[in-house]
Symmetry: C2
Subunit: 337 residues, 2 copies
DNA sequence: TTGTATGCGTTATCAG
DNA sequence: CTGATAACGCATACAA
C-alpha cells in the first residue's frame, strides 16, 4: 500500500478534524470525546498512519532511544546485559541503539558522542577509556550511565558488581586444591573489572598462592596465544581473564597434550553459556548480568526523568565449580622451567 | 561544559553569520569562503556544537540509520554479519539500529515497523515470518532487504547463500565415512536456511543415506534436549541444525558416555568461532558471513539511492572437516532400538 | 559567496 | 472538548 508517508495532517483532513486532535488521539490523551477518538483511530488505521518519531523527537526533545556502547558484540557476556536492558527499555517504549567499540579505547568518546546524536541517554558497558576521559565525557554529557566502571567521584553514575570477591573465591578454591603458583591471563588493559580481578589474584598471596601474570586479552585468540608463555612460568593453575580467554587456553593445552585438570587447572570468569559445554566444563564465576541490565535500565529511567541516581554496587557474585579445576599434581610442575 | 543543547543559531550568532552559513559549513559544502568556514568551524568546536541529527532528519527526510532485525543476538553466527554491515554503514555515515525478535515469529512485523520509525531502511536477517507476511511487509514498506531469505517473487530483494550444497556436502562426507542412517536436528521451523538444510539432507538419500529428523531448534539447549530422542532412532551420525545445536548435542552425548566420533559422528552448520574449540572440534560448514554483510550493505546503499537491486545468491559455501566426524562404527548401532 | 524565508511532522500552548 | 499556531533545529530554494 502506501509507504509510510502519511502524515498527521492527512489523517486530520480525512477525519475532518484538526491535527491537534489527531495528535491527542495518537498520544492516547483522554481529553478527546470517545466517539471522535474512535473515528480518528479508525481513519489512522485505515490510512496506515504511523507517527513520525523523528518529528515527535524534534517537538518533544526526546528520541525514545537509548544508546548502548559495548567493547565487543561477539562476547556473549554482553548479550544478556544488553538483552535485559532492551527488555526494560522496550517495556517503556524505548529502543536501543547498540554500538561496539571493538576494544578501541580511543574511539569510545567519539562513538559515545555519535550515540547522543540519536539517543536521549547513553549507557557505557565496560568502557575502557581512561578515568580522565570518562570524567570529561560525564561532564560534557548528561544522562550518561556506566556498567562495570566506578569512578571515585561517582560521576558518571553507574552500576557494577563486586568482581573482587568472586575472583578471590576462585583463588581460594585453587588454594584449597593445593595449588601454589598460579598465572592470571591479563585481559583488556583498561578494563576496570580486569584490574579488579588481577587485584584479587594478587591479594591471594595471603592464601598462600604465588600469583603471576601474562598479557593476554579478553578473547579466545588472546588466551590461545598467551598459553605458551604462561606454561614457561611453571604454574599448576591458570586463571583466564574471562571465559572466552579460558576457552582459548583450553584448546592450546589440549593441542599440547596437557590434561585439564590433571596437569593444569583452569578457570574462567563470567560464566557465559558456552562454559558448561567445554570439555571439561569450565570452573568460573557467575555475575548477575541480568540483574545488572535490569537495574541499569531502572537507573536510566530515573535519569531520563531528571533525577540523579546514586551509583550502585551489587555483591551477589558467585563461584561455579566445574570440571576444569582439580587437585594440584603431586609432582611439582615447577621443574619444567 | 554545555550539555549538547547548543543549536545552530547560537553558533551563527557567536560567529556573526547566518544559520544557513553554519549549516553549509557543517555539511562540508565548498560554497563558503575558506576563512569564514574556518572561523565557523572554530566557533562550533569551541562551543561544542553537535548538529542535531533529529532535526536534520526531519529536514532531509533521512535519519542516517538502518534498522537490523535478527532472530537472536546470542547466536554468534549473526555477529559477523551485523559487524560487517555496521562497518560498511559506518563508512557511509550510517548507524545501525539493532533489534532482536527472540525467534518470536508473530512479533517480527511489528518490530520491523518500529524500526522504520527511526530508520531509513531495514534489513531483516533470517526472518522467520511466513512468505505471505513477508510479502505483505515488502509491499507496504520500501527499502526493505533480507538476508537468508528469498521469495519466488524476488520481493523483498535480498541476499542469500546456497546452503543446500554445503549441507549436501556434509552428507556426502558422512556417506563416504560409511554412515547410513543419519538424524537431522531440525532448527527454527520457519527459517528458510533450515528448510534448505533439511531439503539437502533429505536429498542425500541418493547418496545411500537414510535421513531422519528430530525436532530441536537453533540453540544449545534445543540440541541438548533433542539428543535422547535422536538416539532412539539408531543412527550413526547426527547433523545439527547449526553449530549451537550441535554443541548441545555434544554435551549430552558426553554425559551419556558416548564417544564422538567413535560411537556417533556429529556435524554442525555455520562455523561459529566456538566450533573449533569444542572437544572434538566440530565438523561444520562455513558460510561467507562477512561477504554477505558487506554485500547487503552495498545493496542497502543502492536502495537508499532509489535503485532496486536484484536479489543475489552467493555460492561459496564450504565444508570444514574437523574431529567430530569419523568412520561409522563397525557394529551397527541400529540394534540399540 | 552569504542571508532570508519556508518547510519537515509533531507537540504543546493558547484561545475559543 | 477542539482548533489555530508557535516552537523544535536544521536544510535548502530563492534572493541579494
Amino acid at each position: 500500500m502506501a509507504s509510510g508517508k502519511i502524515t498527521i495532517s492527512e489523517v486530520a483532513r480525512e477525519a475532518g478534524v484538526s491535527i491537534a486532535t489527531v495528535s491527542r488521539v495518537m498520544q492516547g490523551r483522554l481529553t478527546v470525546s470517545p466517539d471522535l477518538a474512535a473515528r480518528v483511530q479508525e481513519v489512522a488505521r485505515h490510512l496506515g498512519y504511523q507517527p513520525s518519531l523523528v518529528a515527535r523527537g524534534l517537538a518533544t526533545g526526546s528520541t525514545g532511544m537509548v544508546g548502548i556502547l559495548v567493547p565487543q558484540l561477539s562476547n556473549p557476556y554482553f548479550h544478556e546485559v544488553i538483552k535485559t536492558i532492551g527488555y526494560g527499555a522496550g517495556q517503556d517504549g524505548f529502543h536501543m541503539l547498540v554500538l561496539e567499540s571493538n576494544d578501541l579505547v580511543e574511539d569510545e568518546p567519539d562513538l559515545a558522542a555519535s550515540l547522543y546524536a540519536h539517543a536521549d541517554g547513553v549507557i557505557l558497558v565496560s568502557p575502557r577509556m581512561s578515568d580522565e576521559a570518562l570524567a570529561r565525557l560525564a561532564a560534557s554529557r548528561p544522562r550518561l550511565l556506566c556498567v562495570h566502571r566506578v569512578l571515585r567521584t561517582g560521576q558518571p553514575p553507574g552500576i557494577a558488581c563486586d568482581t573482587f570477591s568472586p575472583m578471590f573465591g576462585l583463588c581460594r578454591h585453587l588454594a584449597e586444591l593445593g595449588h601454589r603458583r598460579v598465572v592470571y591471563f591479563y585481559g583488556a588493559p583498561f578494563s576496570w573489572v580486569n584490574r579488579e580481578r588481577w587485584r584479587a589474584v594478587e591479594q591471594s598471596s595471603i592464601l598462600g598462592l604465588e600469583p603471576l601474570q601474562v598479557q593476554a586479552g579478553p578473547t579466545i585468540e588472546a588466551g590461545y596465544a598467551a598459553t605458551d608463555a604462561a606454561l614457561e612460568l611453571g604454574a599448576t593453575a591458570f586463571i583466564g581473564a574471562n571465559d572466552l580467554c579460558a576457552v582459548g587456553v583450553l584448546t592450546r593445552l589440549r593441542e599440547l597434550g596437557l590434561r585439564v585438570p590433571d596437569d593444569i587447572s583452569l578457570t574462567g570468569f563470567d560464566d557465559i553459556p558456552f562454559s558448561r559445554h567445554t570439555s571439561p566444563p569450565l570452573t568460573t564465576a557467575q555475575i548477575p548480568r541480568a540483574e545488572m541490565g535490569e537495574r541499569v535500565w531502572q537507573m536510566m529511567r530515573s535519569v531520563l526523568a531528571g533525577e540523579t541516581p546514586p551509583s550502585q554496587v551489587l555483591s551477589t557474585c558467585q563461584v561455579i565449580v566445574r570440571g576444569s579445576t582439580g587437585p594440584a599434581p603431586a609432582g611439582a610442575r615447577g621443574e619444567r622451567t
